[in-house]
Symmetry: C2
Subunit: 124 residues, 2 copies
């Protein structure tokens, strides 16, 4: 039974990608939009987590595993913990290959966050 | 003596604007850059604060006072508290006019945050 789990299946690319939200300058956010977006911002609101995120985002090939990240000054379990948090927030997706879990940036989500901070003429 | 304070001087537009940071996909962030940027993301990592930020950002004229914001479902002191937090994070600037303090978005800081989330070809 349990050997099904051992098959090298691709983990489904968590398709709960939120098309959140309009540029902040366009209109006030609804409570629901703010919940979604705040969760993503909060995930980046920790210096270590942000460094890890940028380490993954800037890694050659656009993906990295815990084994690639060693220069942030925290232990490997801590790195794993933070990467998991970033995944839960929808900012990273992961795929297991052999021993390691590889992470890459969920670019549509990051693009949505960037879009949110795009400024219209109103705030010029 | 104290009437100097009553003069309608423009509050200096807090020029501690941080040119933080390169796009996340460009290179891993340094510890210092991550500290700065995480502080800004953290400020937006609260749903109420995010709604208030978008209320200010999208308000006609690009600025708003507490008196303009009433539909977020929290009390006026709570609104003031959150706006102050956003100011401390460098995301809003304020100016007192008569009874009210007016807030507007510090567009260079928000632009820097947007820039941070800009994705290079590496993450495509």
């Amino acid at each position: 039974m349990s050997n099904i789990e051992a098959l090298p299946l691709l983990e489904p690319t968590t398709q709960a990608v939120v098309p959140c939200c309009p540029p902040l300058t366009e209109r006030p956010m609804t409570a629901e939009e703010a919940e979604t977006a705040a969760r993503m911002f909060k995930a980046l609101g920790d210096p270590v987590r942000l460094r890890l995120f940028s380490a993954v985002a800037s890694h050659p090939g656009g993906e990295a595993c815990v084994c690639d990240i060693s220069d942030v000054g925290v232990s490997q379990p801590t790195v794993s913990h933070h990467l998991k948090k970033l995944k839960e927030a929808g900012l990273l997706v992961s795929e297991r290959r052999g021993t390691w879990v590889y992470y890459r940036v969920e670019s549509s989500v990051v693009a949505a966050m960037g879009q949110l901070l795009t400024q219209g003429p109103a705030a010029a």
